[in-house]
Symmetry: C2
Subunit: 343 residues, 2 copies
DNA sequence: GTGAAAGCGCTAACAA
DNA sequence: TTGTTAGCGCTTTCAC
């Protein structure tokens, strides 16, 4: 055969400097260069400095994809939420992010738009990225998704509500929160009470709160009234809710809204209409968003600790990843009734 | 030597089914199984079905890390924002996410907490993940970060403001927005005007708006007054801002706030104090958040289109990734003055 | 339409 | 403290 024709076929070189090049420049093997980054203590200080200098010199950026493939772990935490339009999820994400990023983990964010099929698909994708753990908002999944989560051999954290969790669980009891507010309204003397929800098949935690609300009213011998809006919670929807309550339930004295967006929207709308709150109509919400606490009258609502929920969830997952023994796999962050002047 | 002792050292098997196993079960080679997923047209329909059945049967989840390493591309889009506490960034992210996810890309979200060193670090990390493109909020980066972005050979999109961008740019002219509001206030007859910002070294776009505001006032022969708060914008901070303006600038007739959170906080606080708006004090904001449009009086503000900004940015990046020729690398989404009753 | 071989860039395991 | 070797699971290239 003619000239030793190298059998190296063309390979798309990303043209990025590699660890091997760093190692060569520093006069060490690539594993030593690797250790200089990932396990600095195990490398001689002078050697390490030479390696770091070499990296600097050629502009080395570690290829994390290759590292993950080799080590079969990534520093990704998958976070799956149903919506980004709701401040509540954003705050949970903030709590998660601050804690995970401080520990060197990256968040891989997925938005299901309240579609559990989409959730399943996102979970598959994230598992395909070898994420270290998964955090999902809520306990409801498709059977296939549950199976995937149960068998993935990674910490799985379900936040927001409490219940039969797959693995770890941080949240609050929404039914109890609904009851709490209903009891408050009864205690204030209201009898004609309407609960207003928005897309409760999707926002099923609002339906749980309604269940608690309803149980209290029924136990008191009252008829629960329900109005469901066909759009997600917003100030706009709250205004519409108030209009429709006045139309469909003219005798209503109090309205228990599924969340603060709705309740504040209704409250601001009432002020616009010149309705006296709570004299003519009392309004209550859920979440304890800052907004409701800045309007006059202040909104009566239930304070949930979203940031804490995120932080606790992240801490628990990190503990799990560190191999620590987890004693309490379920944590109840509770809630507080904020009595404003709107009831 | 004794028995053919297999020289296979223990390797952490992730124990997950692999494409090779799928292929074996389906009686094809692994590359065919790969094509059944990534390039279905090139595989015989019956064969493809056999492969998909096999995947289903053994619960195959594609290892995207391995795929990315082999192909040197991921379906990640890095998105770097300075804060998640600000609704504005959330809405841009929503616009980006909806568009990118629909095109099969995942968002890798980074939060710099207004620290451009942290931004640099995040950009390195994301490049290490072979992200397909990067989106950053703003044009300000460390020199090293600029260099990294300029040389990374991927689409780089800078959103929020307009200017000397590295590659692609979608945003609005903040200086002009500040001028626009200042002109509005002058036109309404206000002369004693205070601009209230919050941490403007970090939120430098607020400083740009102030520059526009200031230029208009100076051109009109008026003295610009500035009050800077040492915390990020919030309803709470807005209330404090109003207090401090009344204290430090007793003659002030109008307050131009750097954003709607501040302005609405001030407006709600004024209502609480029983101050008449705009008779005793006029208040204006920036962003056009729903909140300001639901209070009475409605807040005069500037509407920016965050969702559109995100969508346009994503569309532009996708076009770039598809290899299309980009004619306009800079897009101005503009803004609209919303005249409420607060001025 | 399908397959064989090579290797993406890194790290685990073992060895010195 | 450092190095050798193998291979993570997939896709590219080239060949049929």
């Amino acid at each position: 055969m003619s000239k030793r024709k190298a059998n190296t076929r063309q390979r798309r070189g990303s043209a990025q400097p590699t660890l091997a090049q760093v190692a060569e420049l520093a006069g060490v093997s690539s594993i030593t260069a690797s250790r200089a980054l990932n396990d600095p203590e195990r490398v001689n200080a002078a050697t390490r400095q030479r390696i770091l200098d070499a990296m600097e010199r050629i502009g080395y950026v570690p290829n994390l994809v290759a590292g993950s493939l080799a080590s079969a772990r990534s520093r990704f935490i998958a976070v799956v939420v149903p919506s980004l339009a709701n401040a509540v999820f954003i705050e949970v994400i903030q709590g998660l992010q601050a804690t995970f990023e401080a520990a060197g983990y990256q968040i891989l964010l997925g938005n299901t738009d309240y579609d559990i099929e989409r959730e399943h698909q996102l979970v598959r994708t994230f598992l395909g990225w070898s994420c270290s753990a998964l955090v999902t908002a809520g306990l409801r999944h498709t059977p296939a998704c549950r199976e995937l989560l149960a068998g993935c051999n990674r910490p799985v954290m379900e936040v927001m509500e409490l219940g039969e969790a797959l693995d770890l669980n941080v949240g609050l009891d929404h039914e109890e929160a609904g009851s709490c507010m209903a009891r408050h309204l009864l205690q204030r003397g209201y009898r004609d009470i309407v609960y207003v929800g928005a897309r409760m098949r999707e926002d099923y935690r609002a339906a749980m709160r309604y269940a608690g609300h309803r149980a209290v009213l029924e136990a008191a011998g009252l008829t629960p009234h329900l109005l469901e809006l066909d759009r997600l919670g917003s100030l706009e929807a709250g205004a519409e809710g108030l209009e429709r309550v006045r139309d469909q339930f003219p005798g209503a004295k109090a309205v228990h809204f599924a969340n603060d967006d709705l309740a504040t929207g209704a409250l601001l709308h009432a002020l616009r209409l010149g309705l006296r709150v709570p004299e003519e109509i009392a309004l209550a919400g859920f979440n304890g968003l800052p907004l409701g606490q800045h309007v006059t009258p202040r909104l009566t609502t239930i304070q949930s600790s979203r940031h804490t929920m995120g932080r606790l969830a992240a801490e628990q997952v990190l503990r799990c990843l560190a191999g620590e023994e987890i004693e309490t796999r379920r944590q109840n962050v509770g809630f507080t009734l904020l009595e404003g002047e709107s009831t």
